[in-house]
């Protein structure tokens, strides 16, 4: 039965892809193809749930079932959304190639999670990566091609690192299963194990968006069509996380230095992600940076779990580990839901307003109240506010850190430091999402495009329902999953996820929080009613100093982010360029002024661009060898002969 569900989850994408070859651009065929994908996702979700509770519990390893379920949820929501989204972009996305790339992407991800051996894993991984590339370049604009090249180069570097790391652990046995790899890893020297760990961290980290290998992510996720971005951000990053957790389980033990490295990289990514999300003014890139931030947090959690597992066990250590594990599980699920839904919502916004620029949007709340409510819920969830599940996940993380404050001295300083960083990250993330919601939905439309969208018709049902489902699910994780985790659930069967009971004295009841929140809102509402004037509110025009109010007078996203940009200007490399052009030569005071603010990526300027320039320079220097002079060619042959003869004689 379980096998049947799994097979269906593989077969339906294939069937959908094949049917798209028959006819691809009619609404009917899009409905059939992507409907098949959605059903496949549901089947995967059912298989995952069934593997935890139900008649065939334990058939899949818990970690596999967990991630398989996330893939299923993602597939379901994104495919459902795509049924309404793709007809809006018929020339670009309604083709059999796109549908096949999508199907292969889904199949690749599912196969990665289920693969029993190194070779199968790598084949599925490559399949997933390459079909992801074709999704990224769907628009076929020069920007999309550029983003695609960066994505592909990083993905190949990642593949090289992963393959090398895994084969190093396996001792060069090409057809080893995971048990054989673990057995062989135990025999390796410490140095070899260390090298393999770093390689695997680099490989999976580059795919998950860990700094400094993250630069491809904002570009690729913003260029891809929204139903694909949702999967790339929401699900593929989780598959990379799965790969990393899987590799960690292959090692007999991990030195403290290496797990500290994981934590450090995770926190660094969280910081950079949150910071760039706060200063970014492209809607989808903001969400992509937010993904980097969240994955960084999750990686730091995984690193912490590994580190705590290596320390001598005490009640404090196990309590901290329990908190971290809860965070990792909850946040993986929550972030997947949240990012999926946010990208799908972003897709709706972009489809209607034809712009991704936050500085050009606005005013959508008045026109689309339900949709705005959904996105408000999602933004609150992204900022980790109750009653959504993300709040409880982060609470578990903070809980563990606060417990760490009571540890002996070096550990408590580290915990305090991390606590500070988390505070900064959380603040910046909240800032970013407040910026997102307010600039897109509140106020008035700041440009023609947005104004048209506000005046036009509302998004169709299928464009709103999937994000809404995501928001509801986030509420659900807050209310239901935490108690599920707190009890000794089957998820704890995997060694990494053992002991998921929350530390004593810090139990959090989600329903209580919801009731408290609801009560507070009710109180506020009643108070407002009680202190309101008898005559009711007076509706009149806003005081405008005699100048008619235009949308240009509203605060823009760029303006909103100015303090953050200023404070962190050394890191975001903020630059401001003011050009003043006098209207009349004789009067320099009346001028046309142009202000250009720019933000650059620290890593790109100091690492990526120099390395790329170096590679190109070396290549150009080597090209001088092919200068067209045949005598030179003969000389090369001669020199090669002499050198090798000398080597042979020695």
């Amino acid at each position: 039965m379980l096998t049947g569900l799994v097979i269906v989850s593989f077969a339906l994408p294939l069937a959908g892809a094949l049917s798209s070859f028959v006819s691809a651009s009619s609404d009917e065929s899009i409905r059939i193809t992507y409907g098949a994908y959605a059903l496949g996702g549901l089947s995967a979700l059912a298989a995952a749930i069934g593997s935890f509770v139900g008649p065939f519990a334990g058939a899949l390893a818990p970690i596999q079932a967990f991630f398989f379920g996330i893939i299923g949820i993602g597939t379901f929501l994104a495919s459902l959304y795509a049924i309404a989204y793709i007809p809006l972009y018929r020339e670009s996305y309604a083709s059999a190639w796109h549908a096949s790339a999508f199907a292969l992407f889904l199949i690749g991800m599912e196969a990665v999670v289920l693969s029993p051996s190194v070779l199968a894993f790598l084949i599925a991984w490559e399949l997933m990566s390459i079909s992801g590339y074709f999704l990224v370049i769907s628009e076929r604009t020069p920007d999309a091609f550029r983003a695609g090249v960066e994505y592909l180069v990083m993905t190949q570097l990642g593949f090289a690192a992963i393959a090398s790391g895994m084969l190093l652990l396996a001792g060069g046995a090409p057809f080893a299963t995971w048990q054989e790899v673990a057995a062989s890893a135990a025999q390796l020297s410490g140095v070899a194990r260390g090298v393999a760990f770093v390689l695997l961290l680099a490989g999976f980290g580059s795919k998950a968006g860990l700094v400094p290998l993250h630069q491809w992510l904002p570009k690729a996720h913003s260029q891809a069509p929204s139903h694909a971005s949702a999967l790339l951000s929401g699900v593929m990053l989780k598959v990379a996380l799965f790969g990393f957790i899987l590799s960690v389980s292959l090692f007999p033990g991990i030195p403290l230095a290496l797990s500290a490295l994981v934590i450090a990289l995770g926190l660094l990514s969280a910081f950079f992600g949150a910071l760039h999300a706060a200063v970014e003014d492209d809607l989808k890139r903001l969400l992509a940076w937010s993904s980097i931030e969240n994955l960084g947090l999750i990686f730091s959690g995984v690193g912490a779990v590994v580190m705590l597992g290596a320390l001598p066990q005490s009640p404090l250590v196990s309590a901290m580990a329990a908190g971290m594990v809860t965070f990792v599980i909850l946040h993986t699920l929550n972030h997947a839901l949240m990012k999926l839904s946010l990208f799908l919502s972003a897709g709706t916004i972009v489809a209607k307003t034809h712009t991704r620029d936050l500085d050009a949007l606005g005013g959508l709340a008045a026109a689309w109240p339900v949709f705005s409510g959904v996105v408000l819920a999602l933004s609150l969830a992204a900022a980790a506010l109750p009653p959504f599940g993300t709040f409880f996940g982060e609470w578990a993380y903070l809980q563990a850190l606060v417990l760490g404050l009571s540890a002996p001295l070096p550990a408590s300083i580290a915990a305090a430091l991390v606590l500070g960083i988390i505070g900064l990250v959380g603040g910046l993330a909240a800032f970013a999402f407040v910026k997102l919601f307010s600039t897109v939905f509140l106020g008035r439309a700041r440009s023609e495009h947005a104004a048209h969208a506000v005046a036009g018709e509302r998004p169709s049902l299928l464009l709103v329902v999937p994000p809404a489902l995501g928001a509801l699910a986030l509420l659900g994780t807050g209310l239901f999953v935490l108690p599920l985790l707190s009890a000794q659930a089957p998820l704890s069967a995997h060694a990494l996820f053992a002991s998921t009971v929350l530390a004593s004295g810090a139990a959090m009841n989600a329903w209580l929080v919801l009731v408290l929140l609801g009560g507070a809102l009710l109180l506020a509402f009643l108070a407002a009613r009680a202190f309101a004037s008898e005559r009711g509110a007076r509706v009149t025009g806003t005081w405008d100093c005699g100048t008619p109010l235009t949308p240009r007078m509203e605060q823009t996203a760029t303006g909103f982010a100015a303090p953050v940009r200023f404070f962190f200007r050394a890191i975001v490399l903020a630059e401001k360029e003011v050009t003043a052009e006098p209207v009349v030569a004789t009067n320099p005071w009346i001028a046309k002024r142009r202000i250009l603010w720019s933000v650059d990526s620290f890593w790109e300027r100091y690492a990526y661009r120099p390395i790329a320039a170096l590679v190109l320079r070396t290549a150009r220097a080597m090209r001088r060898m092919q200068n067209g002079v045949v005598q030179a060619y003969l000389l090369f042959m001669f020199i090669a002969l002499i050198i090798v003869l000398v080597i042979a004689a020695v």
Binding site: R623, R624, Q626, N627, V629, Q631, L634, F638, L645, A649
Partner: protein, 214 residues
């Protein structure tokens, strides 16, 4: 170098012709000197046939005489005259420098021969490697396609001579195959040279530098 028999003398003659070749700047002289070298090769073959009593070497000597002394040099000269190629050959390096390089090449050849073979074969093997190295030198230093052809032919002479001294029994049909390969190569080379001369009015590599990746 032990016995200074006739074979060694002939080998010395071959070496002398090789030494003189790099500094020649006239096509005619180049080809005639090559002819001398080929004749010496034939003489070597005939003497070896007489000394060791191997009849098939006579057949090979006849073939070498026909091909390397008569046919190939004539082909080069006639194509050069017909297509109106320049008699003066352009070089990348001065003839004097080339002679010094030839001396160095002979030294290197002796060194290589010492590593490879024992005394009694040392001189012929050194000569053959000298021919190979100096042939390379000609290939690299001549701008003219004819000069390059002669350089290649000398390289092949060196390889052939090495075969005579080192390999005891080369099957006849392999020797014949090698010689006919060389003939075919020269036919092709002269056809190409003629076309190059027709297209660019100059049978040098100056006009053959367009295909590059700079």
């Amino acid at each position: 170098m032990t016995t200074i028999g006739p074979l060694s003398l002939i080998a010395a003659l071959i070496l002398a012709s090789a030494f003189l070749l790099p500094s020649r700047t006239r096509l005619r002289t180049l080809v005639q000197l090559f002819r001398v070298q080929a004749c010496a090769l034939v003489a070597y073959l005939l003497w070896s046939a007489w000394q060791f009593g191997e009849a098939h070497l006579v057949l090979i000597a006849a073939l070498v005489c026909v091909l390397k002394v008569a046919v190939m040099p004539s082909m080069l000269l006639s194509i050069a005259k017909k297509s109106g190629a320049a008699e003066r050959l352009a070089l990348y390096v001065r003839p004097a420098t080339l002679t010094f390089i030839a001396m160095a090449a002979i030294g290197a050849a002796v060194a290589l021969a010492r590593v490879l073979v024992v005394d009694h074969q040392l001189f012929p093997v050194a000569v053959s490697f000298s021919l190979v190295l100096i042939g390379f030198e000609l290939l690299v230093s001549h701008k003219s396609l004819f000069g390059q052809s002669v350089g290649f032919l000398m390289l092949e002479n060196g390889v052939f001579f090495l075969g005579l001294t080192v390999a005891e029994q080369m099957p006849l049909f392999v020797e014949i195959g090698v010689l006919f390969d060389l003939l075919a190569l020269l036919v092709l080379a002269t056809a190409l040279i003629r076309r190059v001369q027709e297209t660019h009015a100059s049978a040098t590599t100056d006009y053959l530098q367009a295909l590059n990746d700079l």
